[in-house]
Symmetry: C2
Subunit: 159 residues, 2 copies
DNA sequence: AGGAAACTTGATTAATAAAGTCAGGAAACT
DNA sequence: AGTTTCCTGACTTTATTAATCAAGTTTCCT
């Protein structure tokens, strides 16, 4: 129970973009609807994804967001680290600058925490959003990100 | 960074008991000193371990705590679950009664969270406190749980 | 008995983090 | 111009974590 809500939202948003047609930008509102996220939360999450180079944005009436790289180049680990921080289960077991274990002479639990960390990293860094999109396909093709707002020309449904 | 302080304390305390001589009980104060934990916190953690059958207690001047089973029968996973709760990284990926994913038709991220959960469980449930004690030995033999309080007969130093 | 040492229990408080809201600003298209 | 969209930062509320405190009960020893 350590993945917080923002991380959950952010990964869902990126997945939604990976599933969507990348040839045009998608509005915040559409992403919010597709991922069941409060718009105001995505409003602060997406700039963060943008600053990290994961997503690209365009302003104005035709604006919105799209992925900045092909989905196979974006790992789940990257997004999780960005929003959530280090993947170690405990602060004495981070890869970079771990806090020393307070137990005298350091304790053997640390090795096990490190093993959990490595297993987590192995999974998250080897899973790309292309993988996730492929897995989701067939389950989600019916309702892609396309939310037709009145007045907006409906996005071209992929063949 | 999801293992909270109490879980850290509790696992350290059990490890301290696993490293100590099990033929007599060890006082809360000694455990607190050996694990660098506030006594008042162990005061609420150890009853919890006791209720779960992990530890046994005796009252009175000669009282204290000791393991209720041989260390090879106590897994790290058991203690972590007890203090911390389910090991799943997110509530939609618990083994028992997961909350439904709010994304339409359920999202493919869930499978990855479940994979992280399973990897974590595999490590934590296969690591016993006998393993941890063996690993710690040589690093920790110098300062075992034995803390001689004035007036108390010093615990028999093994060999 | 009586007292001291230990565990037991439940309430309480303070600090921190998470989650969500809000208001005003800046760019771009029509 | 004016509308639509993204952008930014401060703010509020709530939940969780962490630690403390004050009585209580059991057991041993003199």
């Amino acid at each position: 129970m350590w993945i917080n809500r923002r991380t959950d939202y952010a990964t869902r948003a990126v997945l939604a973009l990976a599933l969507a047609d990348g040839s045009y930008p998608h509005k915040l509102q559409e992403l919010a609807a597709a991922t069941q996220t409060p718009v105001t939360v995505l409003e602060q999450l997406l700039p963060q994804l943008r600053a990290a180079g994961i997503v690209r944005s365009e302003r104005g009436p035709t604006g919105g967001y799209r992925l900045n790289h092909p989905p196979e180049d974006i790992t789940l680990g990257k997004v999780v680290r960005l929003i959530q921080g280090p993947l170690a289960p405990i602060s004495c077991a981070t890869r970079h600058g771990p806090e020393p274990c307070p137990m005298e002479l350091g304790c053997s639990l640390q090795e096990t925490w490190a093993a959990v960390r490595d297993a987590t990293i192995a999974i998250l860094d080897s899973t790309t959003f292309a993988d996730l999109a492929a897995r989701a396909d067939g389950r989600w093709t019916e309702t892609p990100v396309t939310v037709t707002t009145p007045g907006t020309q409906p996005a071209p449904t992929p063949a």
